[in-house]
């Protein structure tokens, strides 16, 4: 059976976008951010509680879903050919590593094949256990411009519980941060991102403090919404409510843009947001702008807009959007307003005399 570097797995969305597989997207979403995953017969050596590729999740590795859907396998050269053929509508190519001894050499091999045929930017979503300063530098020298680190948890407590000793996962919080620090040094400001998954056990306060901390270091935080993979150790865990998810999206967006500070947010004893003091105009601008509620991901060139939009990645097409893979429409923004329930937790800090339009006026039923 072939393995990387000769073959790669692609997300279902990438396979559709590259015209490798029949099918379509709801709402005619266009996807230019192509995610591929290194593929080995014995799979990933880690054992994260929420991950579809976890070592101890039942089933053959090739049949395992990942982030809700199948990841079909294709010859690497075929994927590269399709990337080159559709270059005009492609925005980014992201190679996801798995914890495996061949990961580094195979990543370089795939990058070289890719670079020989196309100029679309490349990210590596790295596997810190197999990385070092030298290896990260090799990626940069080979043409990678962004590094992602799937930290997933924002505290050592949750990391250990979901990825470390508690699940016999073998991953180390300290090593992940070592790679984040090295990547920041090598790749520069706003070129390193940390993936964090809302719903693994960290509190609202911890997420927002994390966002504030990494933003100060010019590192990007990419939010993901937990979706329980069947048969994984967290198969029975609940997803964050839409109310919680939207609130974190909004506050993260405002923190990143320095429109608010951590002092503007109040929490209960369990670390959940209970109140925030936000200027009315700032909230309105964020909702109407819509970016706060779109997918976090690496940008394309030259527009700088998010390319890795992962349509229907953490929610079914029949469910409300968690993160929008396109700018939310007026109707979408009405849904967002209802899901945010602003009046329940936001204390307006509006200029004196400013009147707020009612929800009904904005979103007639």
């Amino acid at each position: 059976m072939a393995s990387s570097p000769e073959v790669l797995r692609t997300s279902t969305a990438a396979a559709l976008s590259l015209r490798l597989q029949p099918g379509r997207f709801s709402r005619d979403v266009e996807l230019g951010g192509i995610n591929v995953l290194l593929d080995y017969e014995r799979g990933c050596h880690a054992n994260c509680a929420y991950c579809g590729l976890a070592r101890e999740r039942p089933g053959a590795y090739d049949d395992k879903s990942f982030i809700r859907v199948d990841w079909p396998s294709y010859p690497t050269d075929r994927i590269v050919e399709q990337m080159a053929k559709h270059e005009s509508r492609m925005g980014r190519f992201c190679i996801s590593q798995v914890v495996h001894q061949r990961t580094h050499a195979d990543t370089l091999d795939v990058i070289r094949r890719y670079r020989a045929k196309t100029r679309t930017p490349i990210s590596v979503l790295c596997a810190p256990p197999v990385l070092s300063r030298e290896r990260l530098q090799e990626y940069k020298d080979a043409g990678v411009d962004m590094i992602g680190v799937g930290l997933d948890a924002v505290t050592e407590r949750t990391f250990e519980r979901r990825r470390g000793r508690a699940v016999n996962g073998g991953l180390q919080w300290k090593k992940y941060w070592e790679v984040i620090d090295l990547s920041r040094e090598i790749f520069g400001p706003w070129k390193v991102n940390c993936h964090v998954v809302v719903g693994l056990g960290d509190t609202d306060r911890e997420y927002l403090e994390f966002v504030d901390r990494v933003t100060r270091r010019e590192i990007l935080a990419y939010l993901f919404c937990f979706y329980p993979e069947p048969d994984s150790a967290m198969a029975g865990a609940r997803r964050p409510s839409l109310f919680r998810w939207r609130r974190i999206q909004l506050l993260k967006h405002l923190l990143e843009r320095r429109r608010i500070t951590l002092d503007d947010v109040a929490y209960d004893a369990r670390g959940a947001v209970v109140a925030a003091r936000l200027p009315h105009a700032v909230v309105e601008q964020a909702i109407e702008g819509g970016v706060a509620f779109m997918t976090d991901g690496c940008p394309d060139e030259p527009t700088g807009l998010v390319s890795c939009t992962r349509p229907f990645g953490s929610y079914r097409p029949s469910e409300p959007f968690r993160d929008y893979p396109f700018p939310p429409t007026a109707e979408d923004r009405c849904h967002i307003r209802r899901q945010l329930r602003i009046k329940r937790w936001v204390t307006p800090a509006s200029p004196r005399g400013e009147r707020e339009p009612s929800e009904e006026a904005r979103c007639p039923r």
Binding site: P22, G23, R316, P317, S318
Partner: protein, 160 residues
């Protein structure tokens, strides 16, 4: 040499070219299902939801359920008017049947028609018309990226 892809369509039924639904008349009752091109164009079907037996369908195009694939959800729109007399419980439990056996075990609903002759007249029927419908749709779907553009020629096989 590119692999020839085969699409099968039995000629003992009527087809709605917009919705990719087939209608087969059995003892005055219309059995309805998704044709093979429709199941491919949707992607990997993960959930099927159908209205209950007894539901009246007053107009052509009224929704009688939804079909959800990994990255797509869409309404199932009735090709004929009448009342649903039976839904296929097996396809609700195992939506993969729609792909695996689209003209057999993967059927969706049975409808007692109210204006059968009039409704059938607007559907595609007969080998030549079926081939024309599918060929045109394949070309459209390849140009829209719904079917792989370089998957090789598709042979439309009309089953007699």
């Amino acid at each position: 040499m590119p692999k020839v892809d085969r699409l099968h369509l039995p000629d003992d039924r009527y087809y709605d070219p917009q919705e990719h639904l087939w209608v087969k008349i059995e003892d005055g009752i219309a059995r309805v299902g998704l044709d093979q091109l429709g199941s491919r164009a949707a992607g990997t079907i993960s959930h099927v939801d159908l209205h209950r037996a007894g539901k009246r369908i007053a107009r052509i195009g009224a929704a009688f359920g939804t079909l959800e694939a990994n990255k797509f959800v869409g309404a199932l729109r009735a090709p004929i008017r009448g009342a649903i007399v039976e839904v296929n419980p097996r396809v609700l439990d195992d939506p993969r049947l729609v792909h695996q056996d689209p003209y057999g075990e993967g059927w969706l609903v049975r409808i007692a028609p109210s204006s059968l002759d009039e409704d059938l007249a607007r559907l595609v029927h007969g080998a030549a018309a079926i081939v024309r419908y599918v060929t045109e749709k394949i070309a459209e779907y390849k140009s829209r990226g719904i079917l792989p553009e370089d998957a090789g020629p598709t042979e439309v096989v009309v089953l007699h």
